[in-house]
């Protein structure tokens, strides 16, 4: 039996951690939504579990996604997580080869070098010794970056890093101390016994020159054990709860579980998986352009976790989804903000007795729904009407005389019930028309139709539909050579994964420029209905910055496919901003013009747009 009193802090910390974790996990897992357990059962023995294991390895240990954000930041996270993991695994193997048995006191590998001061003889054990030193060195290098970065965030590619709460800071200091103390204890022991390897032995020899290493060693081992114990106990009460929880999250997510319209045990697991890495701070335009550095998801989740959420934190967010894309843990962040709004605004009054009920609707194959916002930029719906005519498609313009809102604006302001009433009204009309295709020009309506309407017909955004028409050769578009840059609307891009279709369409008749922040990383135009409480100056700042950014590639035209984006950007853009439908019509018309003039003059001419 290997024992020394100093193992007590570590052992006690570990025990407390295990008990607390077990209690919490049982609670969260029992709070999963009703259908979730069947889902887990059905997926447990499938390839999905293997995917989950791979993802745990790639993300929780290697931090691949953080690497993508910034290599040095990734190295920092990896050296700490993977390094520590290796210390545990290699340490365990080392004791196995040393003692020849697998079951030892569980603290034995942690304090191995104290318990076994005699230098190794076998080359295998010497190799293990060196390996352990090497891994410790890697972990220490990560700690050095972490400490430097606290003072100069930019060295790891970040402008702002998370401002931590006192509890987090305590845990952070315990964590930072663990590995230097391990180095000191192992080195001190090596200093008198000679059992170290390249690093610990050299440091130990050096210490032995002027320090009483024999007496000091036990002090360092005590401190090492205390810092470990402290850290273990702090895990459930600090951000480090993310370490064990993220693993659980990855498994559940791979088994198909999501946060839907209700807050469930899974949602709790998601929230606890946030590492407060702060990657979502720089990416948020409320911070970079709006000068609001307190509303980002890292703080929202933190305050939520500790029941200290201020109402303005719930409201002041564009729901643009840029943070969702950036978050290395892959938490569905905007959904959490939305659920919080739902909780808060559930009881706000709404009454839509004036809505048409059971209205009879003309039968048709294709319904066109422009959406409220398109009525503020009617050139879009007029263009669509021309296109329908050109392509000889019979259609019904459902909201020709003004729309009943699709319901999403109410939903994203937390009023789910009220939204449902609008959904019911529109849905009845859509179904009554017998249409097989519903085309809309508004990405907000599009997302709503897709997710909340439960329609059994094809729902298409007009950018998808126009591409289809073109591919079916119902629209003859001709290259104009004009340089265009495309702005991805949040609800269409990140919200609905429509990135390729508008680009395919545009590049067919224009010179499509690429720009750094596009597709998943596209900027928000600032007009978002997602943010109720943003102040007008901040909104303008975001709109101006996005317009400026799109102009930076010197396009002749800025194209987009959302009436709201169009209006937001156009306010601050010298370059004309056009909806994709307008561009198609301009191209069709330029062609027919040039055909006319060809007949008259028989001279070739380049086609405008």
């Amino acid at each position: 039996m290997h024992f020394n009193l100093f193992v007590v802090p570590f052992t006690a910390g570990m025990l407390i951690l295990v008990i607390l974790l077990t209690v919490r996990y049982i609670k969260w897992l029992s709070d999963l939504e009703a259908g979730n357990r069947n889902e887990i059962g059905g997926n447990l023995f499938t390839i999905k579990t293997l995917y989950a294991i791979r993802e745990v390895f790639m993300e929780s240990l290697l931090h691949r996604k953080v690497f993508k954000t910034n290599p040095l930041l990734g190295y920092m996270h990896m050296s700490l997580a993977f390094g520590w993991f290796l210390l545990i695994v290699v340490g365990k193997l080392e004791t196995f080869f040393y003692t020849g048995k697998f079951a030892n006191e569980f603290y034995y590998p942690v304090f191995f070098r104290f318990f076994e001061p005699t230098p190794h003889k076998s080359s295998l054990l010497l190799a293990f010794n060196a390996l352990m030193d090497f891994v410790l060195l890697v972990v220490l290098s990560g700690i050095v970056i972490a400490i430097l970065r606290r003072f100069r965030p930019r060295i790891a590619g970040m402008k702002k890093i998370t401002k931590h709460s006192p509890g987090d800071r305590l845990a952070l200091i315990a964590l930072w101390l663990i590995f230097p103390l391990r180095l000191l204890s192992e080195s001190a022991t090596a200093g008198y016994s000679g059992n170290g390897s390249f690093m610990t032995q050299s440091v130990g020899n050096f210490m032995a020159l002027f320090l009483p290493v024999h007496q000091l060693a036990i002090v360092f081992w005590w401190m090492y054990s205390i810092s470990l114990g402290l850290f273990m106990v702090s895990i459930p009460f600090s951000r480090y709860m993310h370490i064990p929880t993220e693993i659980l999250l990855i498994f559940l997510r791979n088994w198909g579980i999501k946060t839907k319209d209700h807050f469930s045990g899974f949602s709790e697991i998601e929230i606890q998986s946030c590492s407060r890495c702060g990657i979502c701070i720089d990416t948020c335009q409320m911070n970079s352009q709006g000068k609001n550095s307190t509303t980002q998801m890292v703080y929202f989740l933190r305050d939520y976790r500790y029941n200290q959420l201020r109402p303005d934190l719930t409201d002041n967010c564009l729901l643009c989804g840029r943070c969702n894309e950036a978050c290395p843990v892959g938490i569905d962040l905007t959904q959490h903000r939305l659920l919080q709004r739902k909780k808060k605004e559930f009881e706000l009054p709404s009454g839509f007795k004036y809505l048409p009920v059971n209205q009879s609707v003309e039968k048709t194959d294709v319904i066109y729904f422009a959406g409220c916002m398109s009525h503020l930029s009617p050139v879009i719906s007029r263009s669509m009407e021309k296109i329908f005519k050109t392509a000889k498609i019979s259609y019904l313009f459902l909201d020709k005389n003004g729309s009943v809102c699709c319901g999403r604006p109410l939903k994203i302001s937390g009023q789910f019930e009220a939204a449902q009433k609008l959904v019911a009204s529109n849905r009845q009309q859509i179904i009554a028309s017998g249409a097989k295709i519903l085309v809309t020009s508004c990405p907000i309506c599009y997302k709503s139709f897709k997710e909340d309407y439960h329609l059994n017909i094809r729902v298409l955004h007009h950018s998808e539909y126009l591409l289809e028409l073109m591919l079916q050769k119902k629209l003859a578009l001709h290259p104009s050579g004009k340089k265009v840059v495309y702005h991805d609307p949040c609800e269409l891009g990140r919200g609905s994964d429509i990135y390729i279709q508008p680009r395919m369409l545009l590049s067919h008749f224009m010179e499509l420029e690429t720009i750094d922040q596009e597709k998943e990383n596209a900027l928000c135009c600032g007009g978002s209905l997602g943010n109720l409480s943003i102040n007008p100056e901040e909104r303008n700042a975001i709109q101006m910055a996005t317009a400026g950014y799109l102009n930076s590639v010197d396009p002749e035209i800025i194209a987009t496919s959302c009436p709201m984006c169009k209006k937001s950007i156009a306010q601050f853009s010298a370059t004309p901003v056009k909806d994709i439908a307008e561009l198609v019509v301009a191209n069709l018309e330029a062609l027919s013009e040039s055909q006319k003039s060809l007949k008259h003059h028989k001279v070739g001419q380049t086609i405008e747009i």
């Binding site: 503020l376 003004g402 729309s403």
Partner: protein, 112 residues
């Protein structure tokens, strides 16, 4: 005075004895841009709900500022929060948040 042909209608005076400014105060506190309204009526002209029913966001704002809040809950419930008014407001008022705060004010200041 009489010769000018002007008279004052008692019914249109703001009656501080009876009028209730708590809603106006609540909104101004939570959405200060509420104060900027010049009553131009652009919001009403574009309003999605106004097309379908007798609903007038401009009038509501005016009445709230005067402290006349009778029947406000039923009226404001008609708004679909579509945001058209916000895009046309020449004063750049955060009209959707004004509306959200009218609703919140009704829930917190008054159980109407």
């Amino acid at each position: 005075m009489k010769d000018w042909g002007y008279s004052i209608l008692k019914g249109r005076q703001i009656d501080f004895e009876n009028n209730d400014f708590s809603i106006a105060e609540y909104i101004t506190k939570h959405e200060p841009s509420f104060r900027w309204c010049i009553g131009c009526g652009s919001c009403t002209a574009t309003c999605s709900a106004a097309r379908l029913t007798d609903f007038n966001p401009r009038k509501l704002k005016l009445l709230i500022q005067r402290g006349e809040i009778k029947g406000l809950a039923d009226e404001i419930a008609k708004c679909m929060l579509c945001g058209k008014c916000q895009l046309v407001c020449p004063r750049g008022i955060n009209t959707r948040n004004v509306i959200q705060n009218i609703k919140r004010a009704l829930n917190t200041c008054h159980a109407l």
